[in-house]
Subunit: 234 residues, 2 copies
């Protein structure tokens, strides 16, 4: 009965993870990159990836890779695109499905990063990447911008409590555009997405800035149904 299947060839299948982090202090989007530990292209900058194993689902493979690198197993993660050109990997023919995920930069333990030779690299100054990984990153960045226009992503990229200034910085880092402060606040507050806390962040200013946190139900709702966020100053 499966003769028809077995007439066809099998292929190596991999996943590659594009891991975005947001650096509160530097107000920059970063990418978690590793130095590849085997040939071909050993020692070059690479996304972290891995082969899909026997009996392992595609999403599961991506989660395994992500989890081994970050120590978290329930991160936000989304399939991006599958790259299937015959010669994309000079080692052998490998089809690779790219996933992207979002994480607060502060959440990853230093030891884990050391263990895998992983480094946060700023988006605006990426090193050369192996194979087609740069194309993957570019596509992920585009996707992230689109995502952000219609879905909240702050939960994934910010700590639990954050200030409006920090949230705005995040949006500006993603859009690569500056946003008018008053318009930003007006819009984001009118969504009923944020809950003002009792305490203030006092590191960066003398006056201090009120902490907010996301209202979970509202966040979920927007994650499901989307909204429209498109404030920007060119």
């Amino acid at each position: 009965m499966l003769e028809i299947y077995s007439r066809h060839p099998k292929h190596f299948l991999a996943v590659d993870c594009i891991i975005f982090g947001y650096d509160l202090a530097e107000k920059e989007l970063k990418l978690l990159l590793i130095k590849r530990s085997f040939e071909p292209a050993k020692g070059h900058w690479s996304l972290s990836g891995g082969f899909v194993e026997e009996g392992e689902g595609l999403d599961d493979a991506a989660n395994r890779v992500l989890c081994s690198l970050t120590g978290f197993s329930n991160l936000y993660m989304e399939q991006l695109y599958t790259y299937g050109e015959v010669d994309r990997d000079p080692g052998d023919r490998v089809i690779s499905t790219a996933y992207f995920s979002l994480i607060g930069i502060h959440e990853i333990e230093h030891e884990l990063r050391e263990k895998y030779g992983a480094h946060w690299r700023s988006i605006s100054n990426l090193p050369d990447l192996i194979f087609d990984h740069r194309r993957m990153v570019d596509r992920a960045l585009k996707e992230l911008v689109e995502k952000v226009k219609a879905h909240p992503v702050g939960f994934e990229l910010l700590p639990e409590k954050f200030t409006l200034v920090q949230l705005q910085n995040l949006y500006e880092a993603i859009y690569q555009k500056s946003i008018d402060k008053r318009n930003f606040r007006k819009k984001i507050l009118s969504m009923n997405l944020l809950e003002k806390q009792e305490d203030k962040e006092r590191e960066t200013s003398k006056k201090g800035a009120w902490y907010y946190r996301f209202n979970e139900e509202k966040y979920e709702e927007f994650t499901r149904n989307g909204f429209f966020f498109n404030l920007a100053v060119s």
Copy 2:
């Protein structure tokens, strides 16, 4: 050097094509489905697909499948998503990348359809599909709606000459919502995307409706850069 690769298993890899067509007469979106010709699930409704062969790119495989079914090799086509659950295909483990494409329903020869047992089925009344094909279709429909908000798709789904009423019907079929006629015309005409022709369509009304065609440069521009189209009446 490739020992590291060869420690990992290989997998069957397939493509499945979600082929949308627009039926001018019935004002409905349709899907080109086939009756599967081999086990498992022989005789059941299915998207048309095929295995990725040795030395064949993923996009190339999708094009091959699409072309064999429609007779066209340069159709609009876009990768949708890759389905990689271990047991999605009861025959064996097969990872499948879904592609969706758009075509005018009138463009496919009857003989080709006969040859492959392909049939146009209305979106609003689909038969049961094998495996996870229904999920693929649902995702493609969502994607199509998003696509249409920012990119013109009429070229792919309509004949060269069409009326504004027909174009509006197409949008309504995709959105599954009715659109105000005056607002629709105002907006679409203000884009300079359409060129009024000298002649009228006279099949459906006594008065006749002016034919339009797309301005190719403008169409290309919008395809590249996008626009914003979101008129609808719930």
